[in-house]
Amino acid sequence: MAEAIAVQPDAATAGPVLEVAGLRKEFGELVAVDDVTFSVPQATSLAIVGESGSGKTTIARMIVGLERPTAGTITACGADRSAPARSARDRRRRGSEVQIVFQDPYTSLDPRQTAEATVDEVLRLHHGWPRDRRRARIAELTELVGLDGRQARALPRALSGGQRQRVAIARALAAEPRVLILDESVAALDVSIQAQVLNLLADIRDSTGVTYVLISHDLAVVRQLTDEVIVLHRGVVVERGATASVLDDPQHEYTRRLRASVPRPGWKPRRGALLGGGEEASG
C-alpha cells in the first residue's frame, strides 16, 4: 500500500532534486540571506541549521515560492523556480514537486476543515480523480501518518499538537512531492511526541523515497534525521558537510559554539562574549 505513494524518480533528471545557487534575499537594507549555495541529491536528507536571524526560514520560504529571491537561482526537479509561477498549472506543478510542513501545529491547518477534508482538497487540486479513488488515497495517507478513523474525521481543535502535525504531513504528502521541507516541524512538540513524529518521518522516507530538507535549530534532531548539514549564521553558510562529521568535529567557531551550547548530561553553562557583541533587537 505504501508503494502506491512512492515517489517516482524522474528518469530524465538523474541530477540533484533540489539545487540552490547564489541565493540572496534582502529586506530593505537587511540582508537576510547572502550568497547561499547547496544541492540536495535525490532520496537524501539535508539539514539547514541556524538560530533566529540566520535566514534558514527565509530560504525555505523562497524554495516553496512564498518569498521571491533578490538574486540567485532555485531549481527543483530540473525546473527553475526562481521567479514566481506564471500560471495556475505552473503553481500546481511546483506544488507537486516541493511541499512544506510548518512549525506551528495550531495555525497550519484550516480550523474549519476536518483532516480528511484537508487532504481531500489537495487531492482534488492535483488529480482529477473520482471520489472513490480519493477516499482510498485519503485512507492510505492517514494510515501512513498514524491517524485512526476518528482522528481523520475530527476538526483540528479536537486534535493534539502531535496529531495536527500528522495531518499537516499527510496533507503535504498528498501532493506526492519529491522534496519535503520540514520547517522546524517538530520544534513545538513535547519530547515524547517529537520522538514519535521523528520515527514516522524516517518511516515515510524509507517507504516513499522522499527527500527531506530539515530546517532546525535542534542539533540532536538534525543528527537523528539527516545525512548532510549546512550551518547558517546571519545569512551566510559557515560550514557544511556530513551531519556526523560536522557535529562530531565542528570546524567553524560558530558551529563549535552552537555545539557547545546544547545541554547534555554533565553540561555546565559558561558565560562568554556573544558573537557580534550586543544584540540589537535582531530576534
Binding site: E51, S160, A195, N199, A220, Q224, V262, P263, E279, G283
Partner: protein
C-alpha cells in the same frame, strides 16, 4: 511519605505539601495538580521537569498566587514558615518582593509603551520606597551584573528595541532588584536561541550563587534542569513522580517515565536506528484515571499492581519515586535496559 526526605537538612525556605488545585472549566471542576509536594532549601536550585499537561507551570503559579479566578486550592504552601495562601495586603507585597518570578515570554509580560527603566524600578519605588535616582542606579548596576553594558542608556530604551535574549536578561535583573530569596523561573529560556540560552543560564547560575538565591527552575528539558539544579523533580499528569539528585537522574532514574523521557530524546552524538518513543500522549491531571498510576497506560513495566491504586511516593537512595514497582525496578530503568523500541502512539 515526607516529601522533603530527599532534600538537604535544615528548615526549608519553601514547603509545598499535598497541593491539589482544581480549575473551573465549562462548568466542571478539573484537577490540574494532584497532591503535589516540594521543598526548597535556602540557596538551593530545584528543577521541575515535565511535558505539557504535567502541571509544572501551574505549580509555580500556585506558589506565586497567580492562579486563575475560581481556582480551588487544597494543601499548604509555606514560605519561611508562613502560610502563603492566607497572605494579603502589605504582607502579600513583602512576599512578592521575596519571591520573584520570571516568565517564558518576556514580551508578553512587559508594557511596550514604558521605558525599560520605568518597569525595572517600579517595585523598588512603590513597594520599597526607594528614591527614583537611587533606584535607577541600582537598576543600571544590576544590568551590568547580567551582562548588559551601558546600563544607563538601556534604561532609557523601550522593550521593542531589545532582542529576546536581552529582554529576558532585563527581566532577570528586574527580579533580582528586590533582593528576593526565591526565584521562580518558568521556562525562562525556551523561547531563546540555544546560544543565548546557554548565556542566560550561565548568568542565572552565577547570580544565584552570588546572591545565595533559591530557585525553582521549570523546563521541559531534562538535561537543562540537570545543568544548574541540584535536585530535579519530574511531573506527570499533575503529580510529582520523581525527585532526584540531578547528577543521578539520567543514569539512575527511579521512575519509568523519567527513564522513558530521557530515552526518547535524540542523541546529538549518534543516530539511533529508531528512537525509543513512548506510545500514546502525555495526559493532563484531569484526564488521568483516579485510582491507578497515571503513567500505567504508557508504561513498559506495567503490572496489575499499577492499576490497583494511585501509587504513593517511595523514598529510595536519597530520592523519591511514585512508582508501585520502584524498588524492584531499581537499576533496570536506564536507556540501556529499556524494552525494545516500543510501538508508536
Amino acid at each position: 511519605m515526607d516529601q522533603s526526605a530527599a532534600a538537604p537538612p535544615g528548615a526549608p525556605l519553601l514547603l509545598v505539601e499535598g497541593l491539589t488545585v482544581r480549575l473551573p472549566v465549562e462548568g466542571a471542576q478539573r484537577a490540574v495538580l494532584r497532591d503535589v509536594g516540594l521543598s526548597i532549601s535556602p540557596g538551593e536550585a530545584v528543577g521541575l521537569v515535565g511535558e505539557s499537561g504535567s502541571g509544572k507551570s501551574m505549580t509555580a503559579r500556585a506558589i506565586d498566587r497567580l492562579l486563575p479566578r475560581g481556582a480551588q486550592v487544597a494543601g499548604t504552601i509555606s514560605y519561611d514558615g508562613t502560610d502563603v495562601m492566607s497572605l494579603s495586603g502589605a504582607a502579600m507585597r513583602r512576599y512578592r518582593n521575596q519571591v520573584a518570578m520570571i516568565f517564558q515570554d518576556p514580551r508578553a509580560h512587559v508594557n511596550p509603551v514604558r521605558r525599560v527603566g520605568d518597569f525595572m524600578t517600579e517595585a523598588l519605588r512603590t513597594n520599597l520606597g526607594v528614591q527614583p535616582a537611587e533606584a535607577a542606579t541600582r537598576a543600571a548596576d544590576m544590568l551590568g551584573q547580567v551582562g548588559i553594558a551601558d546600563g544607563r542608556r538601556r534604561l532609557r530604551q523601550y522593550p521593542h528595541e531589545l532582542s529576546g535574549g536581552m529582554l529576558q536578561r532585563v527581566m532577570i535583573a528586574t527580579a533580582l532588584l528586590t533582593e528576593p530569596k526565591l526565584l521562580l523561573a518558568d521556562e525562562p529560556t525556551t523561547a531563546l536561541d540555544v546560544t543565548t540560552q546557554a548565556e542566560v543560564m550561565a548568568i542565572l547560575d552565577d547570580l544565584r550563587r552570588e546572591f545565595g538565591l533559591a530557585m525553582l527552575f521549570i523546563t521541559h528539558d531534562l538535561e537543562l534542569a540537570a545543568a544548574i539544579c541540584d535536585r530535579t523533580a519530574v511531573m506527570y499528569a499533575g503529580q510529582i513522580v520523581e525527585v532526584r539528585q540531578s547528577a543521578l537522574l539520567h543514569d539512575d532514574p527511579l521512575h519509568p517515565y523519567t527513564a522513558a523521557l530521557a530515552a526518547a530524546r535524540p542523541d546529538i552524538a549518534q543516530t539511533a536506528p529508531r528512537l525509543a518513543a513512548i506510545p500514546g500522549r502525555p495526559l493532563s491531571a484531569f484526564e488521568a484515571p483516579e485510582e491507578e498510576c497515571a503513567f500505567a497506560p504508557r508504561c513498559p513495566h506495567v503490572r496489575d499492581i499499577c492499576r490497583a491504586e494511585t501509587p504513593e511516593l517511595v523514598g529510595l537512595n536519597g530520592g523519591l519515586s511514585r512508582c508501585a514497582r520502584a524498588i524492584e525496578l531499581r537499576g533496570q530503568l536506564t536507556p540501556a535496559h529499556a524494552p525494545d523500541g516500543g510501538s508508536d502512539g
